[in-house]
């Protein structure tokens, strides 16, 4: 959504730190397929920006255009105010952590980390010292002599990170670097990555399709859809005030009220959404304090997730809403008994938000 993006862009231009990356009118066609269309984006110096979107939404292509692996069909890539659109990858002050790590299998861990300095003719002693430091900083001190094939997935990931960071680039690009890790390690690495970013102060551009990851780590999130940016903003804003129906659905559960349901429950037209955790599940006719919104319905499905339970409620007014309840005083047998029961859903009106139709060009509804 060009409008939202340019709004952000003008905000950033006014900031004293300036833009580490500036993308203008970026477009990429592969044959007849338009992978990226009119992307405008500014990334501040020292910022952790996440490009979030489903596969095929163009986020990785944008990353690869910043790195220089993909030449844009149209538009401009600026790094630190310098137009680098036509420069090859080795002539840009960015480094990439690849999805498959891309560690050189015929080199040791130490040689991998030294590689960037080696091809730039950094003196041997300094090269060695910096590589050792970099490996220490990712908790891999003493692993230098090993081959990448002798490391676990998480360790390879760290080597890839050290190999990129040791060159002290202005910008670090990360292409779904946690995708191959299991959940526990993934969550641990999310915290670590964020910590490292804060420590080194380098601009991070992080690509992921995992909304949870994006919400956890980012200063700002750019949500991609069909080659365009639908919304750019801090995690809370993207989550609480999604600009479009797509963003509402992709970042969290969409939970939409539309048409007749919207008119009956909210007394308004349009498409509205409420996040599941904002909704309380009460007995039918249960107290509704004044000023609260409520909707009656029947529980169609109960999903017990351990810490929380997910209720899928079919509304009498049409449509359905998902409500998320913490299992504070309930156990699985308690909540499973809810299936088929009539309930009343209650939430506060300020937690409703209207979502645009999702077509490019429509103004972000919650932006005001």
């Amino acid at each position: 959504m060009a409008h939202a993006a340019s709004q952000v862009a003008s905000d950033v231009e006014g900031s004293p730190r300036g833009a580490a990356i500036r993308l203008r009118g970026l477009r990429k066609e592969f044959g007849s397929v338009v992978a990226v269309d009119l992307v405008d984006l500014d990334v501040e110096d020292g910022e952790f920006l996440t490009m979030l979107g489903p596969s095929g939404s163009g986020k990785t292509t944008v990353l690869r255009m910043i790195a220089g692996f993909v030449i844009p069909t149209a538009g401009r890539v600026e790094l630190g105010g310098v137009d680098v659109t036509a420069r090859p990858p080795f002539d840009r002050d960015v480094n990439t952590v690849f999805q498959d790590y891309a560690l050189f299998p015929h080199m040791s861990v130490q040689e991998n980390v030294e590689y960037g300095m080696r091809v730039r003719n950094v003196e041997r002693g300094q090269r060695r010292r910096r590589a050792v430091e970099a490996l220490d900083s990712v908790q891999l001190g003493g692993y230098g002599a090993r081959r990448p094939s002798e490391l676990s997935g998480g360790q390879r990931q760290r080597v890839a990170l050290a190999r990129a960071l040791v060159n002290r680039p202005k910008v670090l690009l990360l292409d779904e670097p946690l995708g191959a890790l299991d959940l526990k390690l993934r969550e641990q690495m999310q915290v670590e990555l964020k910590g490292i970013q804060r420590q080194v102060g380098i601009t991070f551009v992080f690509v992921t399709h995992d909304q949870q990851e994006a919400l956890t780590m980012s200063d700002r999130i750019a949500v991609f859809h069909d080659g365009r940016i639908e919304q750019v903003g801090p995690p809370a804003e993207v989550y609480e005030r999604p600009a479009t129906e797509f963003v509402a659905g992709f970042v969290g559960t969409s939970n939409l009220l539309r048409g007749a349901a919207a008119r009956t429950v909210l007394g308004r037209d349009g498409i509205w959404s409420v996040r599941p955790e904002k909704i309380r599940v009460l007995d039918p006719g249960g107290v509704a304090e004044t000023g609260l919104r409520f909707a009656d319905g029947v529980v169609r499905e109960v999903v017990y997730v351990g810490d929380v339970t997910r209720f899928v409620v079919e509304l009498d007014a049409g449509g359905e809403l998902v409500a998320l309840q913490q299992n504070l005083h309930t156990s699985s047998s308690d909540v499973l008994a809810f299936r088929g029961r009539a309930v009343r859903l209650v939430w506060r009106p300020e937690h409703e938000f209207e979502v645009g139709a999702g077509t490019a060009g429509s103004p972000p509804a919650g932006g005001a």
Partner: protein
């Protein structure tokens, strides 16, 4: 379970027959090379190493081996250069006609040698001879190179496809120029595939006879040709056996190495 055991026995029998088909004749040749009798005879009448000794000092054999080695090395060198360049072009770059050409380049190995031979013969006659290059060892090298290129191309292209683009990208991303990337990353990645391709093409060239007879000039005789010409001379037959026996033993080594090197685990050389 009974069925699976029976199936197992059946497949085992099949494998045994296949192996016997392939190796029984080779064993006969080896045994005959130590046979006292001058004619191919079974069972062998006694043990002798005289044929091996005669083969070793035979001038014709020596010249033929030298010619074959020269032809093999020449053809392999050309194949390494052109085959690896072609595989990089096909795997790493997209261009018009890429798919078609990558099929066309492997055709020579499928074409009957006689066709390749005739084609090369008339091509050399009409193109090279007017340029003053007559039939000789050089034309044999060129002829062998046509199918050796395929072997190198196949090996290197497969390796390039398997290693993917991302190592090269990582290298460039870390600041390496195209040349540095080729030297530090691409070449080490395909090195063992190059060695495997070289070994196989040398082996292919070494036993080639059809294309050779169409491209060799007068006085040029490769080892296979020498064998073919001497096989039916009563005095030479046992020497031929010894030469063949030596070849069997010698050629197990490069083929085994090539096999190991083309496997992904078959690390570095």
């Amino acid at each position: 379970m009974t069925f699976s055991r029976r199936a197992k026995a059946l497949f085992g029998l099949g494998a045994g027959i296949a192996l016997a088909f392939i190796y029984a004749p080779l064993i006969v040749v080896l045994v005959n090379s130590f046979n006292v009798s001058k004619v191919f005879s079974w069972p062998p009448r006694g043990f002798t190493t005289v044929w091996w000794h005669k083969a070793l000092v035979n001038q014709g054999v020596r010249t033929a081996v030298l010619t074959s080695v020269k032809a093999g090395l020449g053809a392999t060198a050309i194949a390494l250069l052109l085959g690896s360049m072609f595989s990089v072009a096909v795997v790493r770059y997209r261009w018009f006609g890429r798919e078609a050409l990558s099929l066309v380049v492997i055709l020579p190995i499928a074409l009957p040698g006689i066709v390749t031979g005739i084609a090369l013969n008339s091509a050399f006659r009409t193109v090279l001879q007017p340029l003053g290059i007559s039939f000789g060892l050089f034309t044999v090298v060129l002829g062998h190179a046509t199918f050796c290129i395929v072997v190198v191309f196949n090996n290197v292209a497969a390796r390039l496809r398997r290693t993917g683009q991302s190592l090269q990208e990582a290298s460039m991303d870390l600041g390496a120029t195209t040349w540095q990337t080729l030297r530090f990353v691409t070449f080490p990645a395909v090195r063992s595939a190059l060695v495997a391709g070289a070994l196989l093409s040398f082996a292919l060239s070494f036993d080639e006879i059809v294309v050779t007879s169409f491209t060799a000039g007068p006085g040029i005789q490769t080892l296979p040709q020498w064998i073919f010409n001497n096989l039916f001379r009563p005095n030479q037959a046992p020497i031929v056996n010894a030469v063949a026996g030596a070849l069997i033993v010698l050629f197990i080594i490069p083929v085994y190495l090539a096999q190991r090197l083309s496997e992904p685990a078959g690390g570095r050389i």
